[in-house]
Chain length 380, copies 2
C-alpha cells in the first residue's frame, strides 16, 4: 500500500494581501504529475483543505478540479476537516462522493466508519479523525463532562480503533497539535495557553499517522507519526522550511517507510537581509519575483524604502528593521511587530490603558472568551 | 419515464426574520415520503436550491441529507443553479457526484452534456440549463457581442439541442423569467425594466420544460412548459398560492402529462383581515401558529397592536393598514409599502431629494448600475 500524505493546503489563503490560489494551482499541478509518476493507491489530506470556513469561489473551483482529476486517475482521496475548515461545508457530499473514491470526514461523528483500502497483502484501515474542538467532541459523543484537547482525541481514537481488527494494518488521519511539534506563524493556535497539545502516544496502535496542523514537515514523537507540512510557505518564518509531500509505503507486516518529495512553488518565500545600500546594488542571484521580506539592518531612517525595494523585488511583502530599537514603538505596535497572540496583545493593551497588569482571574476569563470566539468562528 | 419537477427551494431563506430551515426540512420529509409512494425515476430541481450564494451551514447540511437519502432510494437527482445560487459553490462535485446518480449544472458551460436516463421506451435526454446572466453566457460561449436574456437563452438552448437526436424524448431544466408568468414578491428580479423576459417558444422542441424562478405553479406559454412553483410560501403575496410539486410522465411517444401534488407546510402563511376588535374576539378556526400578516381595517390609531395581536398569533410577522391614507407617508415609505423595485425606490428618492425627475440618461445609467451590482452578487 502506497499513499501520499499531504496537509494544510489552505486553499484561498491570503498572504501579503495576495490570493494564493494561482500559486496553489501551480504547485498542485506538480503534485498531480507526481501522482502520475508514482501511482499511489491514495492521497491523504490531513485537514485545512481551505484557509477559512467560507473560502472564495476560486478556491472551491480549484479543489473541485483537483479532486475530479485525481478520481479520473483512479487515485482514492481521503481528507478531513482541519481547524480552518467549516466542518459542515467541507462535509458536503461525504456519503455520495464515496462512489467516486472520495472519502471525507467533516463534522465529528461518534461512529465515523473506517475507510478500508486493499492491496495484495490485505486490507488497510484508515481512521478519518476530523478536527473537533473539545465542546464539539463532547456533543458528538454525548459525554457527561468537559474534556481537554487531549481527552477529546483519546475519545475519538478509541471510537476509531473499536472498528479496526487489532492485527490489521491501519492509518490514522488527524489534525492536531501533537506535543513537541515546531510551530509557524501562519497556523492558528487551536487554543491559548498550551491547552491544545495532545500526546503522540495515542496513535501508537497505528501503522502510520498522517498529521496536519503544523506547517513544517517533521516527526511528532515517533518516526511513524508525522506532519507532512503545508503545501506552500504561508509566512516568512516558514522561509527556511522545505515544502512537499510524504510518500508512505506500508509493507505486508504493516511497517511504514516514508520518503519526502519536495514541491517547487511558482514563487519562493524568502527573507533578504542587509543594509539598504547593499541590497540596492542587487547581487541576489535568486528569482526577484519571489515573495520577499526585507530585513533592513540600517539603524538610520531610510526614505521611501518600500518604493525603492519594489523596483528590485516587485513582490516585496514586508520590511522589518531588526536594529531599530523597538522601545521607540508603543507596546501594542511592538506586539504586532513580534507576532504575539491575541492573549498577549490584549494583555499589553490592558496594561497600557489601566496601568495595571491583569489578575489571574481576569486572564482566565480572557482565555475563555478568546477560546469561545475562535470556536464560534470555527463552528461556521 | 416519471419524474418530479420542483424548484425554488431557497434553503436557508429568512422570512419575517426567521430561518426557514426547519420548515423546509419538514416539508422535504413529505416530499421524501411522496417519492417512496410514487417511485419516480428522477427528481428535478429547477434552480434556487439555496436562497443565497453563501447559505448558512444548516442549509448545506439539509441539502446534503436530502440528496443522500434520495440517492439511497435509487432516485436520480438533477439540479441546476438559479439566480440565487452561487454557480461555483453549487457546482462543487458535479463530475464526481454522477457516480451516485446526482447530476448538476452550476456555472454556464458551452458544452454541458445532456443527462440521459432510460426507461423501457428508450432514452430521455435532459438538458441542464443553469441560470446565467447575459455577460456570463457571453463569456462561456465566447460570443463577440452583448446578448439579451432572451438571446443568451437561445444560445444555451441551441448548444443543448445540438447534443440531442431530433426524434428523442427530451426535457429542458431551466431557471428563467418566461414571458407571461405571474410574479411574486419573494423572487428577485433578474434584471430591471423587463429585459429579463424570455420567450417560451425557445423550448418548443422539448417534450417538457421544468422551469424555476417564478414562485406560483403555472404554465408558461404552453401546457408542457411549466413552473412547479416554490417549495414553500416565501412572501405574503404568495399566501393564496398552492405549493407542491409536479409529477410528470412522458409516454412512449414523448407526450407529457403532469399532476400537481400539494405539500403541507408545518406553518401556513396567511393574511388575517379585519378590524382590531373583530380579530381580538378570535373566531379564526385556522392554526394560530401560522405565519401571519394582519391587515387591520381600522382607520384610527390602534395602540400596542403588535403586542395584542401576538397574544393570539404568536408568529405574527407584519401588520398592514390598507385604510390608512398612504399620502400621510413619505413617498419612500409608500414605495416600500408597495414592494417597489430598486429602480422605483431610487427614482422616488432622487425626486424627493432633488425636486426633479431623473432624465432618461440618468435612468439608463442607474439601470446599468443596479444590474451590474446584482450580477456582482450572483457571481459570488
Amino acid at each position: 500500500m502506497r499513499f501520499i500524505h499531504t496537509a494544510d493546503w489552505h486553499l484561498g489563503k491570503l498572504f501579503g494581501q495576495r490570493h494564493m490560489t494561482e500559486d496553489q494551482a501551480y504547485v498542485l499541478e506538480e503534485l498531480l504529475a507526481l501522482c502520475k509518476d508514482v501511482r499511489p493507491d491514495a492521497l491523504v489530506i490531513a485537514g485545512d483543505v481551505y484557509d477559512r470556513a467560507i473560502p472564495p469561489p476560486e478556491a472551491v473551483e480549484l479543489f473541485n478540479e483537483i479532486l475530479t482529476r485525481l478520481a479520473a486517475q483512479g487515485i482514492r482521496v481521503l481528507f478531513i476537516a482541519g481547524n480552518h475548515d467549516s466542518a459542515v461545508r467541507l462535509g458536503f457530499g461525504a456519503q455520495l462522493l464515496r462512489a467516486s473514491g472520495i472519502y471525507l470526514a467533516g463534522a465529528v461523528r461518534s461512529a465515523e466508519p473506517p475507510v478500508i483500502l486493499s492491496d495484495k497483502h490485505g486490507d488497510v484501515y484508515f481512521s478519518l479523525i476530523p478536527y473537533g474542538d473539545p465542546p464539539h467532541v463532547r456533543e458528538a459523543f454525548a459525554l457527561n463532562e468537559n474534556v481537554s484537547f487531549d481527552g477529546a482525541l483519546v475519545v475519538q481514537i478509541a471510537a476509531a480503533r473499536a472498528q479496526i481488527p487489532s492485527s490489521a494494518r491501519s492509518v490514522a488521519v488527524a489534525h492536531a497539535f501533537v506535543i513537541g511539534g515546531q510551530t509557524s506563524e501562519s497556523e492558528h493556535a487551536l487554543s491559548v495557553g498550551g491547552s491544545d497539545h495532545v500526546s503522540a502516544e495515542h496513535f501508537a496502535a497505528y501503522s502510520y499517522t498522517a498529521l496536519g496542523h503544523l506547517h513544517a514537515p517533521q516527526r511528532a514523537g515517533a518516526e511513524n507519526v508525522r506532519y507532512s507540512g503545508s503545501l506552500l510557505k504561508y509566512s516568512f518564518d516558514e522561509a527556511h522550511q522545505k515544502k512537499g509531500i510524504e510518500l508512505v509505503e506500508l509493507n505486508a507486516a504493516g511497517a511504514a517507510s516514508h520518503t519526502f518529495y519536495p514541491l517547487t512553488p511558482r514563487h519562493d518565500v524568502r527573507i533578504v537581509r542587509g543594509m539598504m545600500d547593499e541590497i540596492m546594488t542587487d547581487t541576489d542571484p535568486l528569482p526577484h519575483d519571489d515573495y520577499i521580506c526585507v530585513e533592513l539592518f540600517d539603524t538610520d531612517a531610510v526614505l521611501a524604502a518600500h518604493e525603492k525595494l519594489r523596483r528590485i523585488y516587485p513582490n516585496l511583502f514586508t520590511i522589518t528593521r531588526p536594529n531599530i530599537n523597538v522601545n521607540r514603538l508603543s507596546s501594542t505596535e511592538r506586539s504586532y511587530e513580534r507576532g504575539k497572540s491575541d492573549l498577549h496583545l490584549f494583555s499589553d493593551f490592558f496594561a497600557e490603558v489601566t496601568d495595571e497588569q491583569m489578575t489571574e482571574t481576569e486572564r482566565d476569563e480572557l482565555i475563555r472568551i478568546i477560546d469561545s470566539m475562535e470556536q464560534g468562528e470555527r463552528a461556521e
